[in-house]
Symmetry: C2
Subunit: 207 residues, 2 copies
């Protein structure tokens, strides 16, 4: 005998597909909806449908957008001489929240990961190449900042981008940089892993 109505089981199943949500938390969430008097389930349903119908990819940077070009690419205040290459839209959010960057972005849509079967063809390298050419048409110099996670997949992706740029006819107009690796704020040197310590040592700067 099914304990919960089928319609509730279906909600639990869908919620269970979310990252970090197991069957027990999915059940707790479904129950939260059932208990709520403010029709939270209907509200969430409506905003999900609205998002699915409105959100597209920015034609320039492939960030999520509800306009053909996103507000960052459209802004005359952003410097088109620096292009920050990131994995996904949440990385753009992280940069924007830090308020440290005034250039434009390019969202790859993932990192090269042979273990997960994600090769270069699955990512937006063709589009990245086109975007670099387009930016170089407007200006005679470009810095490409590779801002990916310091993981094996990040390393593979970074060197792919480096090679891609090296093979461009305009490669001498482009500088490729990447985010510094080292100790994070508040870290305890004693507990830092060996690679972090190595990178932090290699990247030491003058005081």
């Amino acid at each position: 005998m099914a304990v919960l109505p089928l319609s509730v089981e279906k909600v639990i199943e869908e919620l269970g597909k979310l990252p970090g949500v197991g069957p027990k938390s999915a059940a707790r969430m479904a129950y939260h909806f059932l208990r709520s008097t403010r029709k939270d389930a209907t509200r969430l349903a409506n905003v999900l449908l609205e998002m699915d119908s409105k959100v597209i990819s920015c034609g320039k940077c492939f960030n999520v957008s509800d306009t053909p070009t996103c507000s960052i690419c459209d802004s005359p205040l952003r410097d088109p001489k620096t292009l920050c290459v990131v994995e996904d839209p949440l990385d753009v959010v992280a940069f924007e929240n830090a308020g440290i960057y005034k250039g434009v972005y390019f969202v790859l849509g993932g990192l090269i990961s042979p273990a997960d079967g994600i090769g270069a063809d699955e990512l937006r390298f063709k589009e990245l190449k086109a975007r670099i050419t387009e930016l170089l048409d407007q200006d005679s110099s470009l810095e490409i900042i590779i801002a990916v996670n310091p993981s094996l997949e990040g390393e593979a992706t970074a060197s792919y981008v480096k090679d891609l740029v090296a093979n461009l006819p305009e490669h001498d107009m482009v500088t490729v940089t990447r985010l510094a690796m080292g100790l994070p704020t508040g870290a305890d040197l004693e507990y830092a892993d060996q690679l972090t310590l190595k990178r932090s040592f290699e990247g030491r700067s003058m005081l």
Copy 2:
């Protein structure tokens, strides 16, 4: 400048209302939807709307149901001489999954909690009283099993039910029991809290 489209921000806001979901996990979930090619957002939206339109409370036990009386209350195989009083529908799921109980349930909809401003009037005690009378009309004896969490709120609720039964004219036809308290399976006696140890000691049984 808003970094994410408004329609995405709205989804993050609604997801952030779920139990155990902070702003960062809500953003990750929203991004999961944006990344999914299988229209997961629309699927979740549809099942949420279906749940909100179909699910009602069982008229007898107040468990969630998509029929006026739930499948448990409707079943001729369930014993109406035992009534298990629980806090919420997920407790019914836990009992049913354990497969140890063949009686019927009553879902209170919460526990008495003065700290959260939940008094007896907020819970289904009037309905519980009516249900007890109804069951006693069918049979001359009834065991009420109080199956609530062993917390302050659980204690308060349990003694409220006990008093409620004691004040019934048919109180001598009713036995009120509650779940045993003691060491859980796999527990280490050394690390058990004092109350658990006390309850476990008091409730010791013959070998």
